[in-house]
Structure formats: structure tokens, C-alpha cells
């Protein structure tokens, strides 16, 4: 069976694996990994260009060759003003109103500043953006982001680059249950394909990751492994997973077991 399509702000995609473009050993390997992942959406960033520099143009040409949808981020922004201006620069540069909104509140954990995030999201939505907020698993923050107009919300599994997988499983399950109409993406902290499958099995619509693929010994191989895990997890979710229980239940029928009810 083919899994259902996923929708981000009215646009539908068959791939539920969004990947970043940073940390690859080479531009060619980045392109191979993006293709092997089957990714249709990739994240990019913005940085200062040195005088006379051509670095940005070389990277931009590589991304255009891939024919993917670009999701710019506001990575590294530490205030609402920085994040809003960076989003507006991204719109100018990439000609898209999509923005992965990050407002970092703590350097040690790269934990989102969720108060600043809600404030920046509201400003950007009023300005015509479609916001993909990178947030924690906190329910009330997710509700506020939804109320501000976010129809995509991206809670972390664990801190960026930590490779720990889903740390707060119950909270992510609660978000899924309480926000059935929102496209939910687990963003950050996934280290293994099984972590991605886990997120999809919980009913998350997609995952976004970067380091686990880019830093693998064979990024294209790992990208394929994540693609298969994401497909597997989604199909499992759509097929209806059985619930866990405390006691055993025999899988082989009991009726007619030899010596059943034999008197010893």
C-alpha cells in the first residue's frame, strides 16, 4: 500500500522526510544524500557574505539543481527582532513565504525560547508568512502557536544534534492527540532510523533531521535507511498498531491444544 500524502500549508508531498543541508563531507555527497532520502523539502539557512564572496552563490546553485522545495530557517537567532528580520531576508532571497522559525533561548541545550517563538510567529503570520515553528514538546506552547495561525508545528525529540531519539514520549503523544488538525513534525534529536520510525508510528506527519544523515560514514546510505524507516513507520501507523498490555496473550489458538484439559 502507498502511504497517504502529507500537507504543509496547502502543498502536498509524498515524502515525509525533511532534511537539512549542513555538515556533509562535500556538496556532491549532500546532493546524493538528499536524493537517496527521497526528500522533497530541504532546509537552508542564511549567513553573512564576506566582501567579494561567492560562497552563497555556489551553494544556491547546488540546491537549485536538486529541484526541491526550500524551507529557510532562522537558526542562531536569539531574539524576536533577529528572527523576524532573518525571516524577511529569507523571503527576499529564496522567494518563499515558508520559514522554519527558530528563536534559541539557551546556548547549552539550544532549547527554543518559546515565549519569543510565539511572539515572532504572530508577527510573521501577520506579515504573510507560513511559519514552521521549532518548539519544545510543551502542550500550551503548541496550542498558542496553533492559535496564532501555525498549521505546522515542529517539536523537538531531543536537543539538536544529540541523537537521543524521543525523550518525552508521553508529551509528544499528547500533542498528537490534542492537535489532530495540525501537521506535526518531529524536528531535532533523532539519531537512528528507528527513532524516525518511532515518531511516525506515534502519528507524527513527518520528521526533520540533518546531523544523523550528514555525519554518517555513508550519508547516502543512511539517508536511504531513514527513508525506509519513515515509510515503514507511516504505513504502520495507518495500518493500526496494537496497544501494549501488561500480560501475555497467546498467539497460537488455545482451543484444541493436545492434552487440553487432560486429567493428570
Amino acid at each position: 500500500m502507498a502511504a497517504e500524502m502529507v500537507t504543509f500549508y496547502g502543498k502536498t508531498f509524498s515524502s515525509r522526510l525533511l532534511i537539512g543541508t549542513a555538515h556533509y563531507p562535500s556538496p556532491a555527497i549532500m546532493q546524493q544524500a538528499i536524493r537517496a532520502a527521497g526528500a522533497q523539502i530541504v532546509t537552508v539557512s542564511l549567513r553573512r557574505e564576506a566582501a567579494g564572496g561567492r560562497v552563497g552563490k555556489a551553494f544556491w546553485d547546488l540546491i537549485r539543481e536538486l529541484d526541491v522545495t526550500v524551507l529557510p530557517n532562522t537558526a542562531g537567532c536569539r531574539s524576536v527582532r533577529e528572527a523576524v528580520t532573518t525571516a524577511q531576508l529569507a523571503r527576499e532571497l529564496f522567494e518563499t513565504t515558508w520559514i522554519k522559525l527558530e528563536v534559541i533561548g539557551d546556548d547549552e541545550t539550544l532549547q527554543p525560547d518559546v515565549a519569543g517563538l510565539v511572539e515572532a510567529a504572530a508577527i510573521l503570520i501577520k506579515d504573510g508568512f507560513q511559519v514552521f515553528p521549532y518548539c519544545t514538546e510543551d502542550l500550551t506552547i503548541a496550542l498558542r502557536l496553533r492559535d496564532a495561525g501555525c498549521s505546522v508545528i515542529m517539536p523537538w525529540a531531543a536537543p539538536i544534534g544529540s541523537a537521543r531519539g524521543i525523550v518525552n514520549r508521553e508529551a509528544l503523544k499528547l500533542l498528537r492527540a490534542r492537535l489532530p488538525e495540525v501537521t506535526l513534525v518531529v524536528d531535532a534529536g533523532l539519531g537512528a532510523p528507528s527513532h524516525a520510525a518511532d515518531a511516525l508510528e506515534l502519528g507524527y506527519d513527518a520528521v526533520l533531521l540533518n546531523t544523523a544523515i550528514a555525519k554518517a560514514a555513508d550519508p547516502a546510505g543512511m539517508a536511504k535507511a531513514f527513508r525506509l524507516a519513515v515509510e515503514s513507520g507511516r504505513i504502520a501507523y495507518e495500518s493500526g498498531l496494537m496497544g501494549a498490555r501488561d500480560f501475555a496473550s497467546p498467539s497460537t489458538p488455545v482451543v484444541g491444544t493436545p492434552f487440553w484439559h487432560a486429567v493428570s
Binding site: G20, T21, A22, H23, Y24, M30, T43, V44, S45, L46, R47, R48, E49, A50, A51, G52, G53, R54, V55, G56, K57, F59, W60, I63, P72, N73, A75, R81, T85, T86, Q88, L89, A90, R91, E92, L93, F94, I160, L209, N210, T211
Partner: protein, 65 residues
Amino acid sequence: MLVIVNGEHREIAAANLIGLLGEMEYEGKHLAIALNYRVVPRARWGETALNSGDQIEIITPRQGG
């Protein structure tokens, strides 16, 4: 006049953004500019005058997660 370009103080002769890009040898269509935290669309670079103390960010696409 003294302005701040990408976080560094610079003495410049240019009177507007187009002039600044030329003076600093920037070229290409892969750039976006914010002047004092406001994005200046490419079409208005020529008419956007610079003042002493202005903060200018010249930005380009880069790898990101």
C-alpha cells in the same frame, strides 16, 4: 562616513546601498540586505541612502538544518 557592515565598523565613501556593494566588491543575485533591521528589496538598493552609524547586514544562502 562610518557604518557597520556585517558587524564590522567601516569607513565608506558610498552614498547608497548599490554604491556600498560596488565599493566592497560584492556582486551577484544571491544577496539580501537589511538596513537597521529592515529588509531593503533589491529594487530599492539604488535609492536607499546611507547615513553615518547605519547597521547593514549583507546576507547569502548557506547550509542549514
